[in-house]
């Protein structure tokens, strides 16, 4: 107990916590005390009583994926009847609608389609840039590894070409848990932890910022969650290119992995520990997509300072049977109700 107390003091002093200390906090601290510590760190990092959100849409350009991860309910094989590649007409319509609703970015992601290589993706990016003025937040590291491999190019060249074609930033997806023991079990065909980190390292070096995510609550131990945080924190020390961290709970319905999802209390504990541990990442997002709007609002007391996206469209979590929806008015109402000022932001967390 005295140990927990000294960790608590350390957190309040703004000192960096170790893996063991984070583990102790996660396992032993009272839920509300833990929230209090995370809130303390949140205001130290971000003193404004402002909660931001972005207006955007998830666009999944294909659901065909060679990875076929066991936790995923979204992927299809190339021959499946409901397999698709989005055509330009559908893409244009989705971007139009996003802009009409005041959106500033699209989150463009897809499966690892065997027939979609770097050239096709570059062409899509150029086409978007030619027709629209919208920020493209796109292609998680597994997709970039897939494109680089297919093109026989190094990561740096691949990312440079993507940037030149209009890629503005990279979403932190595909990180799952950055521990290879876990990845082998849940996503054996997906890139390794080191590959994921390397894509981000190179991207940050080229001036392409990114977010980082963590999908928890499946086969990983709590220690492995914190090792994930440690990997992200170390890279951030090196590059400074992560804008935000987004932990979200695995949703098991319709997946081969199955099981029961992490509960709201477990979510809040992990969120709070993430805020405390990641002392070098400015923003932590609450996940209304997996937790519902009420728990996401409560997460503002547990270290979150961003409500994520209004998500005009979301397909991946919905495929796992979770269909929370939120309007912009509701999001603003929840933020205000918690005593914060809501502010729409852009991809770089600048207030609009």
């Amino acid at each position: 107990m005295s140990c927990l107390r000294s960790v608590t003091e350390k957190v309040r002093d703004g000192a960096r916590v170790t893996l063991e200390e984070a583990l102790l906090l996660h396992e032993e601290a009272d839920l509300l005390e833990l929230g209090d510590l995370a809130r303390w760190r949140r205001f130290a990092a971000n003193p404004h009583r402002v909660v931001t959100y972005v207006v955007d849409r998830n666009i999944n350009y294909t659901n065909v994926c060679l990875s076929r991860c066991r936790f995923c309910a979204f992927h299809r094989g190339p021959g499946d009847p409901d397999a698709y590649i989005l055509d330009r007409g559908a893409l244009a319509e989705k971007i139009h609608e996003t802009l009409k609703l005041g959106g500033t970015q699209i989150l463009l992601q897809g499966g690892l389609h065997p027939d979609l290589g770097l050239d096709e993706i570059l062409e899509m990016l150029r086409w978007i840039r030619q027709h629209f003025s919208i920020h493209v937040h796109g292609f998680s590291p597994p997709e970039i590894v897939h494109m680089a491999r297919g093109a026989g190019l190094p990561l740096e060249e691949t990312l440079l070409r993507l940037k030149e074609a209009g890629l503005g930033s990279i979403p932190g997806g595909g990180a799952e848990i950055l521990v290879d023991r876990v990845r082998k079990e849940i996503s054996p065909r997906k890139c390794t932890a080191d590959e994921w980190l390397e894509v981000m390292r190179v991207a940050h070096g080229l001036g392409i910022p990114s977010t980082a995510t963590m999908m928890f609550g499946h086969v990983e131990t709590v220690e492995e969650r914190i090792r994930h945080l440690e990997a992200v924190r170390s890279l951030q020390d090196e590059t400074g290119g992560f804008t935000a961290f987004i932990p979200w709970a695995f949703q098991p319905h319709h997946t081969r992995l199955g099981g029961t999802p992490a509960t709201a209390v477990e979510y809040l504990r992990t969120l709070a520990v993430s805020r405390i541990f990641l002392d070098n990442i400015p923003h932590i997002q609450a996940s209304w997509v997996t937790q519902g709007d009420k728990v996401a609002q409560v997460a503002l007391e547990f270290g979150a300072d961003d409500f994520g996206s209004t998500m005009i469209e979301e397909n991946v979590v919905a495929a796992a049977g979770v269909r929370f929806r939120i309007s912009r008015e509701r999001m603003e109402q929840l933020i205000q109700d918690a005593g914060y000022t809501p502010r729409q932001r852009d991809t770089f967390y600048r207030w609009l």
Partner: protein, 387 residues
């Protein structure tokens, strides 16, 4: 571990978590005077209550409530294996916040005959149900005979199960139909097998809102008088507050204080259940749903103000299992139960499932760091019954 040891252990846990940070340091400045009172076990005033609702320090409010909650219940969190029966949705009151009621003759109205109610009970006789919760609308044609008939028939089928039936509003309706007193109605119901009254129909104790939202419903005074009558006949009851519509913070606090005064007088309230207003399909559908902060604040404030009501329920049907689980750390000690056939809030757009299994409730509580206790209607522990 025996009960006494467990109690000492709980007390130690509580004092340790308090020592880790003094309560006063743990809350924002506006809550510090309250922290002193909570530590000393002093009763909170009306002003204290308003201060709670005005504060933006949700964690601070929660920590105050948690001290009281742990003092009363340690790490125990209760749930019950129960069955809900709504016998009619035909109602002459037609409150504006209700999506359940129908006029006599209106499409979608239903009335279950005693045979149909009996069938609902019979179909689940193999389940270890501890409590049957029975409420309905004010049907113009239904009097005390019907209520007595229902209780007698269910009692025959389930001699051991607690029958928590008929809100004060329904009791008043039966009394008016029969031209007798509420006491007489309660006596008849008790003879027929009634075990307890649910706490519904209290809404908000505010004449201002009664005029605007539920003008035909009984007044606060009448509601409280019927509860007092029940308590004096040895019939325990619950109490509720419908929040999240047009009421002010002051009205919430007034409501809680009136319940506290009533409890000082008659002592029969077992649990307080805050009910989050669900606007969908009601005459107030333009209003937003309650927020998570509001839900947790009401629970925590209730735990702090209602120092004489033993249990505070986070009713998962109303606020969702996720927030109900979180609420266990904000002053709640009970999640209600398995439910299965809830109609009233689901017709108002509640997005929760129809029921939860005891195993799910047990898991939800355990994963929040509390010890689940499967209870009977009177908060007695039911042993080895996780069906």
């Amino acid at each position: 571990m025996n009960a006494k040891l467990k109690e000492i252990n709980d007390m130690e846990m509580t004092s340790r978590s308090q020592n880790a940070f003094s309560l006063q340091e743990a809350v924002s400045p506006e809550l510090r005077p309250l922290a002193l009172k909570v530590e000393a076990g002093e009763r909170l005033t009306r002003e204290d209550g308003i201060r709670l609702f005005r504060s933006q320090d949700l964690l601070g409010i929660g920590r105050l409530a948690q001290v009281v909650r742990r003092r009363l219940h340690g790490d125990r969190a209760y749930f019950v294996y129960n069955q809900h029966i709504n016998y009619t949705n035909i109602c002459i009151n037609r409150c504006r916040f209700c999506a359940f009621a129908r006029d006599p003759g209106q499409e979608g109205g239903f009335l279950l005959s005693p045979d149909q109610v009996e069938e609902k009970v019979r179909s689940r006789l193999h389940e270890p149900i501890q409590e049957i919760h029975i409420v309905g609308g004010l049907h113009p044609g239904l009097g005390l005979d019907y209520a007595v008939e229902l209780l007698r028939r269910i009692r025959r089928l389930r001699p051991e199960t607690a029958l928590k039936a008929f809100t004060a509003v329904e009791v008043d309706h039966f009394a008016r139909k029969e031209g007798c007193s509420a006491e007489e109605v309660l006596q008849e119901l008790k003879k027929a097998g009634l075990s307890a009254l649910p706490g519904g129909g209290a809404e908000v104790f505010s004449e201002r809102l009664r005029h605007r939202l539920f003008p035909r419903k009984i007044s606060a005074q009448r509601w409280l008088a019927i509860m007092e009558a029940a308590h004096s006949l040895g019939i325990p009851t619950n109490a509720t507050l419908l929040y999240g519509h047009m009421e002010t913070m002051e009205e919430r606090v007034e409501h809680l204080l009136m319940l506290r005064e009533q409890q000082d007088r008659s002592g029969g309230f077992m649990a307080f259940i805050p009910l989050a207003f669900h606007p969908k399909n009601t005459a107030l559908s333009h209003l937003p749903r309650t927020s998570g902060w509001d839900d947790l604040k009401v629970i925590a404030a209730a735990r702090l103000i209602l120092d004489n009501i033993p249990h505070i329920k986070a009713y998962w049907v109303m606020i969702g299992p996720k927030l109900a689980q979180v609420a266990l750390s904000f002053g709640a000690d009970d999640l209600d139960g398995t439910v299965l056939e809830e109609k009233i809030s689901h017709m108002a757009g509640a997005e929760t499932a129809q029921g939860m299994t005891p195993a799910e409730l047990h898991d939800l509580i355990g994963r929040a760091g509390f010890r689940s206790v499967q209870r009977d209607a009177f908060y007695g522990e039911v042993s080895g019954c996780l069906a």
